[in-house]
């Protein structure tokens, strides 16, 4: 039997299109590997047991709690974090821009998880009703902004993605 405490695994991840080969203990959570081994700290760690939603990322295009997946289990998978949403020229993606326009964040701690959950909905169901948006976001907790503006932002982001029209911002209006 191997020495469990010192057992490590070589893991290949593609994060936001970039290949990462990392060497991690079996117990390392994907959330910690993204932050510590890939150096991408946009993914936030809140409760670490799947309740708060702050660590939500896309794994092979499907939303997942990165604190509820082992890094070693994600070997060979394609991960998208909030950093991967940035568009050419360092522009915010429509959903991120909508969060800015709607004042969908204050402290910003829950925002990466909110945005990653919203991306999936806005991509597959861009014309979701408010009820559907609220049902999606019931797995993401915010403790300061309140949910009204977050729901507005997701709906605006979805409309922008469906229409392909940029969101009118305070600067461009």
């Amino acid at each position: 039997m191997t020495d469990t405490a010192h057992e490590t695994h070589e893991v290949d991840l593609v994060v936001n299109g970039a290949a990462h080969r990392i060497d991690v203990p079996a117990r390392k959570l994907l959330s910690d590997a993204i932050r510590q081994d890939c150096g991408l700290t946009g993914t936030h760690v809140g409760c670490e047991h799947g309740v708060c939603g702050a660590c939500t990322v896309l794994v092979d295009g499907t939303p997942a709690r990165s604190c509820l997946m082992l890094a070693v289990s994600a070997d060979g998978r394609d991960v998208t974090t909030v950093e991967g949403l940035t568009e050419p020229g360092d522009r915010l993606s429509p959903v991120q821009q909508a969060f800015k326009e709607c004042h969908g964040l204050q402290c910003g701690y829950c925002t990466p998880g909110m945005v990653m959950s919203a991306i999936d909905l806005c991509t597959h169901h861009p014309k979701s009703s408010e009820t559907e948006v609220r049902a999606l976001l019931d797995g993401n907790m915010c403790r300061c902004t309140g949910y009204q503006n977050i729901v507005k932002a997701v709906m605006m982001g979805g409309e922008a993605m469906a229409s392909g029209q940029p969101i009118k911002t305070a600067e461009t209006a």
């Binding site: 670490e48 799947g50 997942a64």
Partner: protein
């Protein structure tokens, strides 16, 4: 918190997975991980070995026919919830899956994993029991079928041996002239329910109520199903009979108190939901057509 150290194995065949479970006494199967990872991170569980079965082929199929719905150990809640044939053959599956945790959890968590986790506060063990389904357990010693009634033996405890893993589950089709409904009350959407109730109501050719059964969440150590038919002896879905059904249910359940609800409050909720869900199951017969 972080999980305690463990060894990690990722078999690529079922035989390899079963051999690993046979070899290591303190091993756990990792499928969707949506219940296991929190247990590890909170150090409520510290297995020596994790056997990740996610790369084992052949366990991710949903097969529906007129008899029922079979689904493999790697079928995610979201995939089963989306499966149109499964929803048609056994509508209670999709209705219950919508109440399981949050969409993001459902996209990774497996329904069979939830059945193996054996939580009497979770929807799917209760639904399996109410429907009279079964699971298939495999080990190096062979395969066995376990009826839902025999699967659950205590809080978070199933009759699975340490070297066994569930490879799939099956639930029967909704019988003719039968309606199904489920509802629950939780403090926040997606939380564990304070109380949940699912019900199957069957009527005869004349439309008279013949059988009423209800399953209960969070009011007992193991998934609980209560036969409420005696309250409907005259065949009517009447307010008086529903009140009698609440009495029958109340005598059968044994809710515990915790920081979220007193036992009396849970008992009250069980009564409210019994009335609501039995009536909804009966009403679904007319809205969905009797076939």
């Amino acid at each position: 918190m972080k999980p305690a150290p463990f060894s990690y194995l990722r078999p690529t065949t079922l035989d390899e997975a079963l051999a690993a479970l046979a070899e290591h006494a303190n091993a756990k199967v990792l499928a969707g991980g949506q219940s296991l990872l929190p247990l590890l991170s909170m150090r409520l569980a510290a297995p020596a070995v994790l056997v990740d079965v996610n790369r084992v082929p052949g366990l991710d199929e949903v097969r529906s026919d007129e008899d029922g719905v079979a689904f493999g150990a790697l079928v995610r809640h979201a995939a089963l919830e989306r499966d149109a044939d499964a929803r048609r053959v056994q509508p209670l599956l999709g209705r219950a899956l919508r109440l399981v945790a949050h969409p993001t959890i459902r996209s990774q968590g497996t329904t069979v994993g939830s059945l193996a986790h054996a939580d009497a506060a979770a929807e799917m063990p209760m639904v399996l029991t109410l429907l009279g389904g079964h699971v298939t357990a495999a080990s190096v010693r062979g395969e066995r079928r376990i009826e839902a009634d025999d699967l659950y033996v205590g809080p978070l405890e199933s009759c699975l041996e340490h070297d066994e893993m569930l490879t799939g589950a099956w639930v029967p089709a909704l019988p003719a002239r039968t309606g199904a409904a489920i509802d629950e009350i939780s403090r926040r959407h997606g939380d564990y329910a304070l109380v949940g109730v699912a019900s199957l109501v069957s009527v005869g050719e004349s439309g008279a109520v013949e059988s009423v059964r209800a399953g209960y969440l969070s009011v007992s150590d193991t998934p609980l199903v209560v036969d409420l038919s005696e309250a409907f002896a005259d065949g009517e879905m009447s307010p008086g009979n529903l009140a009698a059904a609440v009495e029958v249910a109340s005598a059968a359940i044994e809710p515990d108190a915790d920081i979220h609800a007193t036992a009396d409050y849970r008992r009250h909720l069980a009564g409210v939901l019994t009335r609501r869900v039995v009536a909804a199951a009966h009403a679904s017969l007319t809205t969905e057509g009797v076939s």
